[in-house]
């Protein structure tokens, strides 16, 4: 619990808060460029958040306290998740409290509350969105767990910081099981973050909405918190992916200079990742909702195969 540790933890939190909308804006920007449309600029999400915070909140008459409370809870879950993922440094005082399994639990908690809130007001869209979200989540969670177990099996621990440290320190080695886990993780993150091919983040058509349907009734600061939470989720998933599969550049404990290096490295990795995500979204079409279980089933099975390959090849 050194001072440097607390500082880097605080820095990680702040960075997550500030960078998450930027990441979302960057992905949108790239997508517009690739689709030959004029982009609104990378800072657009900040402007949107600013506008929303200054509005008056309108709520349904029979909305329960859960409805009021949910955005704050969801936002805090996502913030906490970003805090325990080693984005800049592995020296995080909060990390012993939460490992990979707890991370999945945090996302699950957020999912439960957002679904309950969606159903709370009693609109058709809300329930539709909640059911679809549960369908996606029911399959995505085991897949995510399997991916994390793959990494844990190789490194011998489920703590995210331990995984990053071990993988970054190993000599460069090609782990075939990590290849499979990587593909599975990409598929899961596409599903969980409501990206094409699972859910179009731009759409408001009832046939195709999942995430949008759930937050349709919110306004002003509640909506702002939900949107920010979604950006934080994307940021958290991206950083988790980078930490598991491209861990080089993350600072270790007791090295303040490395922190300085870690920030540009992180920005670079996120920029490339965001561009790739935009490219993938542009190139694929959204799949029909009943095909989503197949998609996620494939991800789950690939992650399981990654585990099996790990056992078979004895790579460690």
């Amino acid at each position: 619990m050194s001072a440097l540790g607390v500082f880097s933890q605080f820095l990680a939190l702040l960075l997550a808060l500030l960078l998450a909308p930027l990441l979302t804006g960057w992905v949108n920007q790239c997508r517009h460029w690739m689709q030959n449309k004029s982009a609104p600029g990378v800072l657009q999400p900040y402007r949107a958040l600013h506008k929303l915070f200054h509005k008056d909140s309108v709520m349904a008459e029979h909305a329960s306290p859960l409805y009021r409370f949910a955005p704050y809870l969801v936002f805090s879950c996502m913030l906490l998740a970003s805090a325990i993922i080693p984005t800049l440094s592995t020296d995080l005082p909060l990390s012993p409290a939460a490992d990979a399994i707890a991370l999945v639990g945090l996302f699950a908690l957020a999912r439960v509350f957002i679904s309950l809130a969606a159903m709370d007001v009693g609109t058709a869209f809300g329930t539709l969105g909640a059911r679809r979200e549960m369908l996606v989540g029911f399959l995505a969670e085991p897949a995510l767990l399997m991916v994390l177990f793959c990494a844990s099996m190789i490194t011998g621990s489920t703590s995210l910081t331990a995984i990053v440290e071990t993988l970054a320190h190993r000599d460069f080695a090609i782990y075939p099981s990590m290849l499979l886990a990587g593909v599975a993780f990409t598929m899961v993150s596409l599903a969980e973050n409501a990206r094409v091919p699972v859910d179009n983040p731009d759409t408001h058509l009832e046939l195709t909405m999942i995430h949008e349907a759930m937050i349709l009734e919110y306004s002003a600061r509640h909506l702002a918190l939900m949107e920010w939470a979604a950006s934080l989720k994307l940021f958290a998933y991206s950083c988790a992916g980078l930490a598991l599969f491209f861990p080089w550049g993350v600072a270790e404990a007791n090295s303040p200079l490395a922190l300085l290096l870690a920030l540009p490295v992180l920005l670079l990795k996120l920029a490339i990742g965001g561009a790739l995500l935009a490219a993938f979204e542009t190139a694929s079409a959204k799949m029909r909702v009943f095909r989503v279980p197949e998609f996620l089933g494939t991800a789950f099975l690939m992650a399981v195969i990654g585990l099996l390959v790990n056992v078979l090849l004895g790579v460690g």
Binding site: A173, L179, E294, G297, L301, I305, L308, V309
Partner: protein, 221 residues
């Protein structure tokens, strides 16, 4: 570089396994053929790599044979056949895709457990991949049984041959040359015959759906 080779071969083996799964889940026949072509390419890469490291020219020849046959000629021929027959989609399978995947996982576990004691005894660099090769063989076998159109069955057959060649390359650094040539010749002739057959089935039944080919039963009179 040398110390990377077993890892690279393991990586290629995993890619081959991944492609087998992708082929099972695939509905578009054009994509199926392309996946098969990529699988052949991964196999060729593995053969060349092992040939380079173990200094066995036989593996180069085997890789070249696979390249010409499985990456160039057969996919080209299959693309031509499906263009002429106008089959692009295979909508129904015997059971739905998630169930197929689960059965696939079961087969992979079976293959890994069967091959583990044997792989330990292998003295070659890539001996650990015997389980993966056997898994690919069993997955292709499942693909042949659960598909209801002729072209995916043929691709399943060819993908099984891929798995077999990979097994031979992994545990024994390739079979003797004369056997490899014989096997390649058999596969080539087999695919040509199957191609001819598909045209005839199409001619007689007006469709390549295998369900038309289920009339021969024991109590037919």
């Amino acid at each position: 570089m040398i110390k990377f080779v077993p890892q690279l071969v393991n990586l290629l083996a995993t890619i081959i396994l991944l492609l087998s799964f992708a082929m099972i889940a695939q509905r578009r026949i054009v994509t199926l053929i392309n996946l098969f072509m990529i699988q052949g390419a991964a196999l060729v890469a593995a053969s060349f790599l092992l040939g380079y490291v173990t200094n066995q020219p036989d593996l180069y020849v085997s890789g070249a044979l696979t390249l010409v046959l499985k990456v160039i000629f057969i996919p080209w021929m299959l693309h031509r056949v499906i263009r002429k027959l106008n089959v692009r989609w295979d909508v129904e399978t015997l059971f739905n895709i998630p169930t197929t995947m689960l059965v696939g996982i079961g087969l992979v576990i079976l293959a890994f457990s069967l091959a583990a004691p044997v792989a330990k005894l292998s003295e070659t660099l890539a001996g650990g991949s015997l389980g993966i090769a056997l898994a690919c063989i069993l997955l292709s076998f499942m693909m042949m049984i659960t598909r209801s159109k002729a072209v995916p069955q043929v691709i399943g057959f060819l993908s099984m041959e891929n798995g077999l060649i990979f097994a031979a390359t992994a545990v024994t650094n390739g079979m003797p040359m004369i056997v490899e040539f014989g096997v390649a010749l058999d596969v080539l002739v087999g695919v040509l015959i199957l191609g001819v057959f598909m045209f005839q089935i199409r001619e007689k039944f007006d469709s390549l759906d295998i369900h038309n080919l289920e009339t021969l039963k024991d109590d037919r009179s």
